[in-house]
Subunit: 211 residues, 2 copies
DNA sequence: CGATACACTGACCGGACGTTCAGCGCGGTG
DNA sequence: CACCGCGCTGAACGTCCGGTCAGTGTATCG
């Protein structure tokens, strides 16, 4: 069945509102972003938002899911086919830096939801909907690490902790890049991360003596 | 001059209120922590808080500074005297994990202030007071890294980026530890971080072939 | 023991924000 | 053209919260 005119309008509204929400949240922060301002940013009246989302929580939740779905698609694409661990690691990091670079505004929403706020009921709800998304991201990377360990490419360590360390560490670099006027080329930061994580930063004894 | 009785009472109130603030913020999150609840937690009336802090912002700011001052003291202590880079890195990481383990409740306050919220005026104020504290932490570690690079113990990389990567990566592990019922011993996680950062995770060709 | 000072209290105020809903205008229909 | 349906609007409502201040209890002093 072709999309009816109503569907098209509806989709357009939903998308405008979600994009506005991301922009306002990235400007003011999660707590200070008001429905009024989101509505203005989207070019609709406050009441209109409630025709498409039950309440503020649902708007935030759906918006987050839509946006993070995009990130997951990118990561999946980066991991298609198989290569050496190093290639895959580089692909993942490149995809990540690229995504946040193109979606700078999504970053703050992402960061705000890392740790749930509000009453314990709200916290539980946020946890149910957002935590799995973070977990999925961590688990995906942990899976790659585990695979590489089994293949003998990586020494045995707790894959989950390593994944956390890597994701959050690279997130810090993304954050820094976003606040810089002229960040270095993406590849440079990817190389920093990949080479550090693969080979470490210490100059081995043999190399030092040969120098 | 000895402390007058008023000073003692005053200090006690300030401390109670700050501790209450940390507990409430860690329970509800920054935005949802109300002055009323902080007052109840401290066992005083709401108005009393305003005898010791100009407004909510000042309370949060001062509380944050008091608590992070403690962290900085620990880090300084960990770096007293001099040792190899590896020893210093291990000391810093141990101090960090230890601090957050003993001050679990401070963690959320710390996390909430990472990224300023509210109107742009509020954001500027928060940036002026809190960002330098984060910067100081990063710069301190970056300094150690730089020193090790100059000494030829560490290969030359951007020290600031490395420091960010390390601090945020280890923060992720702290966060994970805090949410676990029975986290592994601190030393284990410290070793994971230190060995990863020093030697990387890849199994070198020579080691693999000798296996 | 009264008088004075002052830390403390908590009801109250003003404003902001999420949510609602009566009504408006516009495109479609007979 | 008159009527209708409906997507949309934004004023109004209830709630919540930071901040205020007149009043209260208590310690101190003459």
């Amino acid at each position: 069945m072709a999309k009816s005119k109503e569907d098209v309008v509806s989709e357009f509204r939903v998308q405008s509102i979600q994009e506005a929400a991301i922009r306002v949240i990235s400007r003011k922060g999660m707590a200070a972003a008001t429905m009024q301002e989101i509505a203005e940013e989207a070019g609709v009246a406050k009441g209109t938002i409630y025709l498409y989302f039950r309440d503020r929580e649902e708007l935030v939740e759906k918006t987050f899911e839509t946006a993070i779905g995009e990130l997951h698609k990118r990561l999946d694409a980066a991991l298609e086919g198989d290569g050496t661990f190093e290639e895959r690691l580089r692909a993942v990091m490149t995809a990540q830096l690229g995504f946040f670079n193109e979606n700078r505004e999504f970053f703050r929403l992402y960061h705000s939801l890392r740790m749930p706020e509000g009453t314990s009921a709200q916290q539980r709800r946020q946890k149910r909907t957002c935590q799995p998304q973070f977990r999925a991201r961590v688990d995906r990377l942990a899976g790659i690490l585990k695979q590489a360990m089994d293949a003998g490419e990586v020494r045995p360590l707790d894959p989950k902790r390593l994944a956390l360390f890597l994701i959050e560490g690279s997130t810090a670099i993304v954050l820094e890049r976003l606040s810089e006027d002229a960040p270095p080329p993406e590849t440079e930061d990817v190389e920093l991360i990949v080479s550090t994580i693969l080979a470490g930063i210490a100059i081995s004894k043999s190399k030092r003596s040969s120098h």
